[in-house]
């Protein structure tokens, strides 16, 4: 083939960019701006610094961490449904360690470690016993929620330790620490995804495990890591969340699963694995955070909010899912 053949082909490739590609790429931006515009005009409070920082940004951080956690298993074509239970479990553990064991700062690494252990458990059952991750984590979603709720004894538990609380509640140069943690971890996951062997294998495994195996990678190991990472990020989310409100109720974390998966998919990470990445997950998170905040400001009934959120999720997924790679949708 001559050089003209090559340039011809490049044109070909360009022409192949379909409307769907554009929707997938620009959709979340358009949606975010649409929502921001709508709420700016329909409410007085939306576009205030207090609202944007204290409500939208702070609330978005928990969802962001959980969505980033879920991104890696999905990239490698599995899924972690137990995210919200890990948030619950680690949150409860944090409170108990501080209030009843007086561990202070040490509570934080232990709680996050517990999250990683939970993830490791998911990963090992999935990889070594070859149970689909969907089922493993659906099971542990229930198990860990149960364990967490037993520890709370069924009611909200609290602690008093203003010093530790500043980790989550303080601020630097007017920016809440919580938001800074979120950004730091966000950048960290991007580095993980695009600059490390682990990240590379996540994408590769999501596309074709056999190929990665025959290229000499220790596949089982790299299939477990994303779940451990998910445990780590959800654990961090659980810790930051409980430090922020210095308490843990039996249902903290609940309701995070659906919006987190929605954020991941809206961000362009396909449920079929191999494409996307954490860098765009933040877009989906912001869309959902703004939508939640705006609906609250408009005084929309919380049950109606649930309906709207569900519809937005299905709609966004339908628009952004990468159909080229899917032959049969199951």
């Amino acid at each position: 083939m001559s050089t003209s053949g090559v340039s011809e082909w490049i044109t070909d490739q360009r022409e192949q960019r379909t409307l769907h590609d554009w929707i997938q790429d620009l959709g979340p931006f358009v949606m975010l701006f649409g929502l921001i515009l709508t709420f700016s005009f329909t409410t007085d409070r939306f576009l205030t610094e207090a609202n944007l920082l204290d409500n939208v940004a702070k609330n978005a951080v928990t969802l962001l961490l959980v969505a980033l956690a879920g991104t890696f298993p999905i990239l490698q074509q599995s899924i972690d449904l137990s995210v919200e239970s890990i948030v619950l479990l680690t949150g409860v553990v944090t409170v108990v360690l501080i209030s009843q064991f007086g561990l202070g700062l040490l509570a934080i690494p232990i709680a996050i470690g517990a999250g990683m252990l939970a993830g490791l458990f998911n990963g090992i059952i999935f990889t070594k016993l070859k149970v689909p991750s969907f089922l493993v984590t659906l099971g542990t979603l229930s198990v860990m929620a149960g364990v967490g709720k037993i520890i709370t004894g069924g009611s909200t538990i609290t602690f008093r330790n203003p010093a530790i609380r500043t980790i989550s509640n303080g601020e630097v140069l007017g920016i809440p620490n919580l938001v800074l943690w979120g950004l730091l971890i966000y950048v960290g996951t991007i580095v993980l995804a695009f600059r490390t062997k682990f990240g590379r294998y996540c994408f590769a495994l999501g596309e074709n495990e056999r190929v990665v195996e025959l290229a000499g990678a220790k596949v089982d190991r790299y299939k477990i890591y994303p779940f451990v990472l998910s445990g780590l990020l959800c654990g961090t989310a659980g810790v930051l969340l409980t430090l922020r409100i210095s308490s843990a109720s039996p249902n903290i974390g609940s309701g995070l699963l659906l919006p987190s998966i929605a954020a991941i998919v809206m961000g362009g990470t396909a449920l079929t694995g191999g494409v996307g990445g954490p860098h765009r997950t933040i877009l989906g998170v912001l869309v959902i955070a703004v939508l939640n905040n705006g609906m609250n400001l408009l005084g929309i009934d919380s049950f109606v909010q649930e309906i709207i959120l569900g519809l937005v999720v299905v709609g966004a997924v339908a628009l952004s899912i990468d159909r080229e790679k899917i032959d049969v949708v199951k």
Partner: protein
């Protein structure tokens, strides 16, 4: 690039595709391109009632594309199909079937968990008021296959059928689908590829018995089979019809010449560049009595630096498994493999790659490539394993450099390192798989049918590359289904049967190459 040697052996008495006479099935001037690759160029052929036509050509000659056009799976860019003199256009296989044209696939196209009659009626079930008429279908199906002289029990689940019975069911299905037509045209795409000898005979008998009830187009790599069964043979090469001859006038040699049509085998496989025995280095790979369960071994072999060690054998001889075993993908249950001085007892793929063995699988789409990832990601997939030692970060510059180098060195036609592999042609895709091992200077390559399904030009480049690699001291285990290729490329050739080598490896140094016949005798 390609020399346009037309070996047109059309006899005066043979039907001319363009005369518009009483042909059962006629194709005129079919052309088809995929992007920049012209798969078919102005191909015409005609099939008479009751004729059995052979269609041969190398991999990538356009046979599959032609069959796909004939059955409406693909649409031709140019050209016209005629059935019984009527111009027709098929936009899907169902329309083709309505005109009596149907295909019996290479890969069997039946659902194993269903019963025979259910497969026969699949997609065209008989219903009354929305309820399946099972009893009626079962009876009619049995009568239908009995009438064809096919001896199968349609009430049995297909997974309990022998391979041969499944093939028979497929042929019955082809007749069944096209039963509205008075004269069905049945396209058989390499129907014998997976059959045992007895199965082939049964198939041939069936085709012979049915030849006055249907027209057959028989596509196969096995030239002697084509010569045995067909009345007339079309030869495709590089997407063009280069010969049309009566079987009586054809021999294996004339067909082969028409198929390859360019130069002598020695030039094609660059035999003069082959490493002489005296040029070979130390022993690079040793297999010592390696066994995998009941399927492979015990196998012992040794390959020297710069040597190409060929392995041939029929389907099921265990040659593919041996390749997997060398890759570390199949466990070695007894014996061992040594790379250089390192002996490995039960290596994993990872261990073998560490030791310096790279495996190129037969099926590049399912095992060789991440199709929706970039050329760069695919090329560096093996080298990222030990990039930067203990620092967890990838060396992005190094992998980009390695990819750019590989694109240059292997002349991979791609818009750039970041283009998706999905969009490359088969030959260029295969080069990416090879590039993966070259990028980390793997000294031993195990290639299973490395030129499978790539066009002739790309094949030549792969051959050239193999010669260059061995010149640098790389050892290659060359497993292949195409005997001429293995003979042309290898220094020594081992014949496999029933999981073991038959005798000692055969010398294949330049000037002393065995013939295909020599190998076939050992294979069966």
């Amino acid at each position: 690039m390609a020399s346009q040697t037309h070996t047109n052996a059309t006899d005066a008495g043979q039907p001319d595709p363009t005369d518009g006479g009483d042909h059962s099935f006629r194709v005129e001037g079919i052309s088809k391109s995929f992007r920049h690759v012209q798969a078919l160029k102005d191909v015409s052929l005609a099939v008479d009632h009751g004729e059995v036509i052979g269609l041969v050509g190398e991999n990538g000659a356009g046979k599959s594309t032609l069959l796909n056009i004939l059955t409406g799976v693909l649409q031709a860019d140019e050209g016209q199909l005629f059935v019984d003199g009527e111009a027709v256009t098929f936009t899907n296989p169902r329309e083709a079937a309505n005109y009596g044209v149907s295909l019996v696939h290479q890969e069997q196209d039946i659902i194993k968990t269903m019963r025979g009659y259910e497969n026969l009626y699949l997609g065209r079930e008989l219903e009354r008021l929305g309820v399946l008429e099972k009893e009626k279908m079962r009876k009619e199906a049995q009568a239908f296959v009995d009438d064809l002289g096919i001896n199968i029990d349609v009430d049995e689940r297909v997974r309990n059928y022998s391979f041969n019975e499944r093939q028979m069911l497929e042929i019955a299905k082809a007749f069944h689908v096209s039963q509205k037509s008075e004269n069905p045209v049945i396209l058989l795409d390499e129907p014998t590829a997976a059959l045992e000898e007895s199965g082939r005979q049964i198939l041939f008998d069936l085709v012979n018995d049915l030849r006055d009830r249907a027209t057959f187009v028989f596509v196969s790599h096995e030239l002697d089979e084509v010569l045995q069964i067909s009345d007339r043979i079309y030869v495709l090469k590089d997407g063009e019809r280069v010969a049309d001859m009566a079987t009586a006038d054809a021999t294996t040699e004339t067909l082969q010449k028409a198929m390859v049509g360019r130069e002598t085998a020695d030039e094609y496989y660059r035999v003069p560049d082959q490493q002489r025995d005296t040029e070979l280095g130390e022993t690079a790979l040793t297999v010592d009595g390696a066994v995998h369960g009941d399927t492979v071994g015990p196998i012992s072999l040794s390959v020297r630096e710069g040597e190409i060690f060929g392995i041939v054998g029929v389907e099921g001889s265990g040659k593919q498994q041996l390749g997997r075993l060398l890759a570390g993908d199949l466990a070695i249950t007894e014996g061992s493999v040594s790379v250089g001085d390192t002996t490995l007892q039960s290596p994993t793929v990872s261990d073998m790659v560490d030791a310096g063995v790279g495996y190129i699988p037969k099926d590049r789409k399912s095992e060789g490539l991440l199709l929706y990832q970039s050329v760069l990601v695919n090329t560096s997939l093996a080298m990222v394993r030990d990039m930067n030692g203990n620092v967890p970060l990838l060396d992005l510059d190094a992998e980009r450099q390695a990819t750019v180098d590989a694109i240059e060195e292997l002349s991979i036609k791609t818009p750039g390192p970041d283009a998706l592999v999905h969009g490359l042609s088969g030959g260029n895709q295969q080069k990416v798989v090879i590039a993966r091992w070259l990028a980390q200077e793997t000294p031993i390559l195990v290639m299973d049918n490395v030129t499978r399904g790539i066009d002739v030009g790309a094949k030549e480049e792969v051959y050239r590359l193999c010669r260059e690699l061995t010149d640098q001291g790389v050892s290659i285990v060359f497993i292949g289904d195409e005997l001429p290729e293995v003979i042309g490329m290898s220094n020594r050739i081992a014949v496999m049967a029933n999981g073991e080598f038959v005798g000692e490896p055969i010398d294949a140094s330049p000037g002393n190459k065995p013939t295909e016949q020599d190998l076939i005798q050992e294979m069966i």
